[in-house]
Amino acid sequence: MYNRIFGIAGLMFRQAVRSRFVVSLFCLLLTVLVGFTLTIQGDGTASGRLQVLLSYAMGAVGSVLGMATLWLACGSLATEIESRRIHLVVVKPVRVIELWLGKWMGILAVVLLQLVAAGLFMWAAARIGEHRTVAGTPDGIAVREEVLVAREWVEGRRLGPPGDRPVRWSLSCPELPEGATGMATLSYRFLSAWRDQPPVIGHWMLRGEDGRIWFESDCTANQDGVNRLKIPLAQLRGGEPVELLFEERPNAAGQVTGATFHPEREVELLVPTGGFGANLMRALLLLFCHVALLAALGVTAGTLFTFPVAVFASLALVVATLLAQFFVFSTAPERVAHEHHHGGEEGPSWIERVGAHASETVRMAMAPTLRYRVGLRLAEGRRIPWREVQAAAAVLILGYGGVLCLAGCLVLRRREWALPV
């Protein structure tokens, strides 16, 4: 069984190499990554530049690799069936699941190779970026402590009614690594419509459940942008609940700005728990899970359709999945019903109802595939947990991939190989 699966996978990989697919994709990725590295400026600081570079690079690698993989996967079985090369394979003692898995794993080998290359490039770019800054300077600190780390984070939950002074939040301090010596970051934002507002002068305090004060500090914060307050890890107690208090103090002119906190992510406590390398690896693994799902989609589409139709159909499904997340607002069934209720005599037509239910079904069915995105976490130095990588592998590869594999095998079993598609 494994002999046959790996045989087919090896053939798939070899074909991808010899048809120059691998080298072309590699060149494309390299061009994109080098292009980004040379052109991205960011906000002018080294840390800003690195953040933009990392987030763009992740996005570009994901989309280029995703598209290319989908393409390769759609062709893997479809072209073999069209060219009838499959005849000589299926008259050998090969089960359809071995055929499916072999093709899929061959594609994954190609993906893995490209991801490793892209990962090494990004890692090198990050390290070079780090070496270009001087440790201890604000930019150097930002690069090392805000970008090239993996930080656990918790958001504060607001306590008390709005307008309560001092403003209070409760949060549970993340577990700290053994003997941690670095700095945690308290990050907070104000809601501000104008630039060049006067700074907010205030006082922060972290208070344990027992009433003991862990840490306190005065601060001068900008009303726009993100403010950061450094807290030595030694002063935190991992895993324990803590109350966070902020009180604004009058500035030199004796004024209080009365600035309010930004409703999204008012305050966050970020605690470094790991390095950038491992976080990058986890981000790439998440990406790998998504691409593996696209590969499964392509292989199965290739069992049903000819190559161009398979590409078209699977692309359509991907686009529908993404769009369904937005369409839901205009056509969700309850909303259609609601408009009917308030809109007078004409009810929604059956087309509207069917459309609403269809888009809702697609949204519900595909929503879990969108749950495990890397997003900005890598660039913001936020930790991507191993648990999430495992969950993504289980849901995307075993769950959705398994369903696609099953569907593909059912189609292949019933198929008359010698009939034109």
């Binding site: 790996f6 000589l88 003692p93 090969v94 010698a418």
Partner: protein
Amino acid sequence: MQEKANSTILEVVQLTKVFCDFWRRPKVRAVDGLNLSVRRGEIFGLLGPNGSGKSTTIKLLLGLLHPTEGSIRLMEGRPGDVAVHRRIGYLPEVSHLYRYLTPRETLLFYGRLFDLSARERRARTDQLLEMTGLTAAADRAVGEFSKGMARRLGLAQALLNAPELLILDEPTSGLDPMGCRQVKEMLRALADQGTTILLTSHLLADVEHICDRVVIMYNGKPRAAGNLRDLLATPDRMTLDLPVLDAATTRRLLQTIRETCDCEAELSRPSMNLEEFFVRVVREATNGASAAPEAATPRMAAFLEK
């Protein structure tokens, strides 16, 4: 052993295949009520003109197509069974091979599909490459092969698992006369060792000398079937084979025959057929120079010898 030799390896009853269009309307009746039974160890020929349904029948036997009606029993199994596929070899009408692979990689790949051990795979690959005269081209891409070379490789992959039943769709198409002769000799040798062979052809000269039994198909229906020697025997004529005599003796001999048996007798001089002539010319040419690889005398792969 005797019992096994006489048992049927393939039994086809009332096999019918109708090709339908997209709307499931019948389009072509490619095979129509075919009955076959192939015994172990014989060479069975499926003959017929173009479009008579030979390839369709073979694809039905291999599970590449599903029958519209009728049943197929193949080595105590059914077409498409993995256990059955382990024991058959198939050469399609056109060798659909992987263009990017070399012959060696091709055979190693198919060997993996048969679950052969790595050592066995390599050994068989080498033997088959030599047997089909492809050793010299073993590391060139199949995509650049000539039709005949691809055909030889197709044949090699069909023999990879030392099959009990060898199904060959026009095995000699695309081969040069030397290759044809080699293939025929090889098939005969395989059959002598107990391999059952089912082959199709419309080149009757090719099958005449090797088939034990044949079915002649036309328009999907079997039109004649039976033992080849019985089918071809012309019971009311015979030939007398003699060295060349001088004119006077010949005349006297003919005279005597006519008088004694009161029938027509004719004299003709047998000539070599073109194939024999071609083979002789090429053999002479290869004797002097180093033999062209494709024309080298084949040696049966050791693993096929029983």
